[in-house]
Symmetry: C2
Subunit: 435 residues, 2 copies
């Protein structure tokens, strides 16, 4: 499959702020050529361009091509729980809704519920997700069937899985399908016994693998860990050797400077979920302190039960606005930096360096943004427009691995959205009975 | 013009949470009939419906019709300043960018810049705005020419206008065009001398008119007012008799319980601008305290220089999420209440009671939301979906005064958006020279 995207403006995210007119040539799943218009004009001055056998040529009409968004923290299968009793206090919501629902979910249920989430990702220009949920097999199959890129991460804990299961999945899903990879993770310090964590540390050392976990999401979690171990979660987990080969952590709202120093030294990514942390009243992450500590930052939406949208535009605005609020500084963070968090850093955090920027040889995971909508005018500063006034309504096309999966409001994923919704309604009808 | 919107689901906002299948009949600028499907079925059981001479019939395909959003605080002409040096600290940004630009703006400039904002409002389902800016004449003409509903409010201050000018505009724009009305306002306590405010109070008493102003946006503003007058801005302005006939205030971030008591007693609306207040690091309004004090709340985007999007979906999510953060309570506010703030209360705050809900005789200011997009699934709680996972991408159609102005991503405003963008680029080229 050869795809040509021409007549575009391109933000490669390689050379930062620079946006140039040009085109992108895609061969199979990779970018074959990122061509500035002036280079093309010089090369072929007046002559006809060489005839390449394009399967598809798309006139981008001066719209913007940039790397697809990397949603670096998701629980896709939780779509069933969206808007289900948001009004309850967290404890009751978990006990009365989330846990009983999750207990009933079959692998097939999660397969359909993940497909619903994938449609939402694509409609918002998200080209890969870092997904932690029950029965990762189901999420993998859903993503493969729709053409979505997914990095699975295990949510190991004391109740629903085992280290040997994680190892099995790790070996299987890192060689099975080019759209899927797998990283080792656990749910959180507070849901994992010291024995389980020690066992996991051995596995991690065996494979010299990075590790990911929920961390310091709430003040209560940090307090309880201190009481139990005498250390913050970051310090405690590091003391077990879990971060010896890097990785990252989700949320990171309540962090000390010492914790950040661990992150810097271990090259851990902090993966922030600003909408979820605000909606659930967990707090605002100290972005500026992380920045000062030279810790890489990426962004995730978290699951649809706690956010509830899967929309990186909303997250980007929130990173900037909440950081400003926290620092009491209307210019606490550069919008280009936020854009980098949502793309390049996300790719690096989930070990998808092959999909970080638009360049020859990189995976063709690309989003086209409609610059002809009024919220993108005037064009004093396009990255600032994207972060401060951008919307998923600007997403005109989403390309994953060289395949156009979403274009002009329509999905090209091999099946009808309504069919997926119907399956999800069927799941809801069964699972929610009596809950 | 007779318009029939059929095969819809309808949220009238009259009977709160109830959503029913049905259709809406529109005659000229008003709603002639809101018909639940079961009523139609009963009335015409099996017979053919009476033939009405519809000019246009739209199959809503089971999508949602609800009252259009009321953006209750805007400075539309500031589109030129979007993403123009967001990175500067507020003082320098005002002095080096905003004021020099505004000094150069002609009435014609503001006309085009307002048109740009109107396109953005329509693309986000906003059917009326409460607009305070220089040269209100220009905003009025822009809205009339595009078919937008606009309540002008004067931004009287010590530097750019006079009470007699306000009176002249008040008389003119409350009788000139059905799309336009005019309310009396002033910029703020800190930009208005006691003499000016006394003069304004006389005018207000003469017309027994409500009054609107920026109020308690920043902690500094409140502190300085206290130092100067011994009172908070709300108490001080009330002591001058300015609120004797109601009205409202924009922002209201830093408020005492006593201030709220003034609001309740005078039936003032607090009009919150959560995105602007976060981005500019002003703070988070105490929504729960206002609620407890029984003060009516509405929502505005503020101007594109300080927000920078004109998107009520973003504002609705922010009201809920920021309120949760502030109260440290993940269920601090009911999403239906937020939806009411963005529609019914907005209409009431700007004295547009004729456009508050969907009912016979009300103005046909309606938005159709696409429920077939994945972020609206599943449908456990539609108001919660709208507030927590909704997006302007769900806006399928915007109707103002019975005229379809936006449908399926296209504008029907009598001119091409690109022409408006071109005019705005021309304005930018001239005005920004050397700034």
């Amino acid at each position: 499959m050869n795809l040509r995207l021409y007549n575009a403006r391109i933000l490669t995210m390689e050379r930062d702020r620079e946006i140039f007119p040009g085109e992108i040539w895609i061969k199979n799943e990779k970018i074959a050529y990122v061509a500035p218009k002036e280079e093309i004009d010089r090369e072929w001055k007046g002559q006809e361009m060489p005839r390449i056998d394009w399967d598809l040529e798309i006139d981008c009409q001066d719209n913007l091509l940039m790397p697809g968004f990397k949603d670096a923290h998701t629980h896709s299968g939780m779509t069933l729980l969206r808007s289900l009793a948001d009004g309850l206090p967290t404890g009751r919501w978990l006990k009365e809704k989330v846990f009983p629902v999750e207990e009933r979910l079959t692998q097939e249920d999660i397969y359909y519920l993940t497909k619903l989430a994938v449609l939402e990702y694509l409609s918002g220009g998200i080209t890969s997700i870092f997904d932690m949920y029950l029965k990762p097999e189901a999420a993998a199959e859903a993503c493969i069937d729709l053409g979505m890129r997914c990095v699975l991460v295990s949510g190991l804990n004391d109740f629903t899985s085992s280290v040997s299961q994680v190892e099995e999945e790790y070996l299987k899903w890192n060689r099975r399908n080019p759209l899927i990879s797998y990283q080792i993770g656990f749910h959180g310090e507070y849901t994992s016994s010291p024995g389980l964590l020690a066992e996991l540390a051995s596995l991690v050392h065996h494979y010299r693998a990075p590790v990911y976990t929920h961390l310091a999401e709430t003040a209560g979690e940090v307090k309880e860990c201190r009481e139990r171990t005498g250390l913050t979660p970051a310090m405690y987990l590091d003391s077990l050797g879990l971060f010896d080969f890097g990785g990252g952590a989700y949320h990171c709202v309540h962090m000390t400077r010492e914790d950040m120093e661990v992150f810097r030294r271990r090259r851990l990514y902090m993966i922030t979920c600003p909408a979820s942390n605000a909606k659930l009243a967990s707090g605002v992450a100290p972005y500026r302190d992380f920045w000062d500590s030279r810790v890489g930052m990426a962004i995730g939406t978290d699951g649809p039960a706690s956010n509830n949208a899967l929309d990186m535009f909303r997250e980007m605005f929130l990173v900037a606005a909440l950081s400003n609020l926290r620092e009491m500084d209307p210019a606490s963070i550069d919008p280009l930096e936020v854009l980098r968090m949502a793309t390049v850093n996300g790719a690096k955090a989930m070990r998808l360096g092959r999909a970080d920027v638009l360049a020859k040889g990189k995976l063709a995971d690309i989003v086209m943004l409609d610059m002809s909508q009024p919220n993108m005018q005037p064009e004093h500063n396009i990255p600032a427009n994207l972060v401060y006034s951008g919307s998923k309504a600007n997403v005109k096309m989403t390309v994953v691995g060289g395949r156009v999966l979403y274009h002009d409001g329509r999905f090209f994923v091999g099946e009808d959205p309504e069919g997926i919704y119907r399956q999800c309604r069927r799941v809801a009808g069964r699972v929610l009975q009596g809950i």
